[in-house]
């Protein structure tokens, strides 16, 4: 029985270990969490409702489709391992989910990944509260976050260099520094050239060459924030337009899962690869949108390694893609 105001989460994970770890993380948000061990009990739990969040693995993804049909306001978090993500990426992108966390901790016996656990807690708490913005939600307390503003496109490269210098001082390995540089480069490019629209909603700079300098109007200034907490180096880039909807983001990201001559836009303006390249540079990619008001894209890069299985093939780094949208109550709600 739910207490008044208590949120309800159903965890459907096939592996008992994953189920236990996931339920433990979800319970940290104060939610009422149910994690049934069998398919029959899962179906029963889905029918019992009401549910706020459903956390599923790939094996239970079909149940998510049914659940969202029954309850369109249900938030779905997919928690799966990297091999499943790499094999089924395109199908995964079709799921009615708000967040996807690909992490070794759900697949590796005896591995517990505090970074992935914290991200799951943050994800579920953001879905509950609607308080979605802020790099700090992903960083340990005490992390110093630096903030810089872009008022003209030429400033972006200086911010890339500055972020990389800070990251190098934070102990980021050389190979990750190039990923960080690409992340900041692409996010700033999107925010400067693609986000701004005029009063009629028409893009102001999207069709211009990225080599052509752009001076932004005050309402177009871009905010870049970055810092390290010793485990993660995080970057957030915000614009004041809130135009990056989930379908658009997924469409851009998924086109690079397949190799063909449609990958790269040959028209003027951007090449259409920026979002994917940014996503591909990080372990966690978070898109926060208040439609028409603000977009904040966050990229997190691990400074250390994700836990590996005790033996056998490495599962690689963890990865996530989370999309959060500010919900406004409809009339009468």
């Amino acid at each position: 029985m739910l207490k008044p105001g208590e949120k309800s989460v159903l965890v459907l994970q096939s592996s008992p270990k994953s189920r236990r770890l996931t339920a433990r993380a979800v319970a940290a948000t104060g939610a009422h969490c149910v994690a049934p061990p069998t398919g029959e009990e899962s179906t029963q739990a889905l029918a019992n409702g009401p549910l706020d969040v459903l956390v599923v693995d790939w094996e239970n993804a079909a149940l998510a489709q049914q659940a969202v049909k029954l309850n369109p306001r249900l938030e779905v978090v997919l928690l799966t391992d990297r091999p499943a993500f790499e094999r089924y990426a395109e199908d995964i992108m079709d799921l009615p989910m708000s967040s996807m966390i690909v992490s070794s901790f759900v697949a590796v016996p005896d591995a517990n990944d505090p970074v992935a656990t914290r991200e799951l807690v943050t994800t579920v708490a953001k879905l509950f509260t609607g308080d979605i913005f802020g790099l700090e939600k992903y960083m340990g307390w005490g992390a110093a976050i630096r903030e810089q503003e872009i008022r003209a496109s030429q400033q972006a490269e200086g911010i890339v260099q500055s972020a990389c210098e800070d990251a190098a001082r934070s102990g980021m390995p050389e190979r990750e520094l190039s990923s960080l540089g690409l992340l900041v480069d692409e996010l700033c490019t999107n925010a400067v050239w693609d986000a701004p629209v005029d009063a009629e909603g028409q893009p102001r700079y999207a069709d211009k060459s990225r080599a052509q300098p752009v001076a932004l109007a005050p309402n177009e200034y871009v905010t870049v924030r970055y810092g390290s907490d010793g485990n993660l180096f995080g970057v957030s880039v915000s614009d004041n337009f809130g135009r990056l909807d989930q379908d658009l983001a997924v469409r851009y990201i998924r086109k690079c899962f397949r190799h063909n001559d449609q990958q790269v836009s040959k028209s003027a303006g951007g090449a259409g690869l920026g979002l994917y390249m940014a996503f591909n540079s990080v372990s966690s990619f978070v898109i926060n949108v208040d439609p028409g008001v603000r977009t904040e894209v966050i990229g997190l890069i691990r400074l250390g390694r994700a836990p590996k299985p005790p033996a056998g093939e490495s599962l690689g780094t963890s990865r996530s893609l989370c999309y959060f949208r500010t919900k406004r109550p409809k009339k009468g709600e």
Binding site: D185, R210, H259, Q263, V264
Partner: protein, 155 residues
């Protein structure tokens, strides 16, 4: 030698083919169009100094590859990690060029030391070295799944 804002290149003496060394960032302002006339026949490209290639840089690179493809066969060698990422992700990134070697990340499980070292490719197969760690002497291992890092060899 041609210098642009973020990308430079120079030709170095080579007993084999003309060798062009690229260094810096490949973006929309890379100016690779200016390099096309200098490629008069088969050439080798040392890409170890390419620190970053962004989305518009990929488009510039593809145009460059298309422009010089007919003058090949070309060879790419010492491809940096950012270049390897694009080889793995972007259709036709290398055109008809052959990849001779890449720079690959190595890691020492014993002490955490990292190393970027050249891995040659022969008969479409990476010849993975087993370098000794400069810090502790233990054998270092590739810090990536081979199938993932060398995915471009599979298509």
């Amino acid at each position: 030698m041609q210098a642009k804002r973020n990308l430079t290149w120079r030709f170095v003496d080579s007993a084999d083919l003309p060798t062009c060394v690229l260094e810096g960032i490949v973006g929309e302002d890379a100016g690779l169009d200016d390099l096309v006339p200098d490629i008069k026949g088969p050439a080798r490209f040392d890409l170890s100094g390419v620190a970053r290639i962004n989305s518009t840089g990929v488009r510039e690179w593809l145009r460059f590859v298309e422009a010089i493809n007919g003058k090949g066969p070309h060879r790419l060698f010492r491809c940096s990690a950012p270049i390897v990422a694009q080889l793995n992700m972007i259709d036709n990134f290398r055109g008809s060029a052959k990849v001779e070697s890449v720079i690959a990340p190595y890691y020492c499980e014993a002490c955490g030391h990292e190393l970027a070292t050249e891995v040659t490719i022969e008969n479409n197969t990476p010849k993975l070295p087993s370098p000794a760690c400069a810090e502790c002497g233990e054998t270092m291992a590739l810090d990536e799944m081979p199938a993932r890092y060398f995915y471009f060899l599979s298509y």
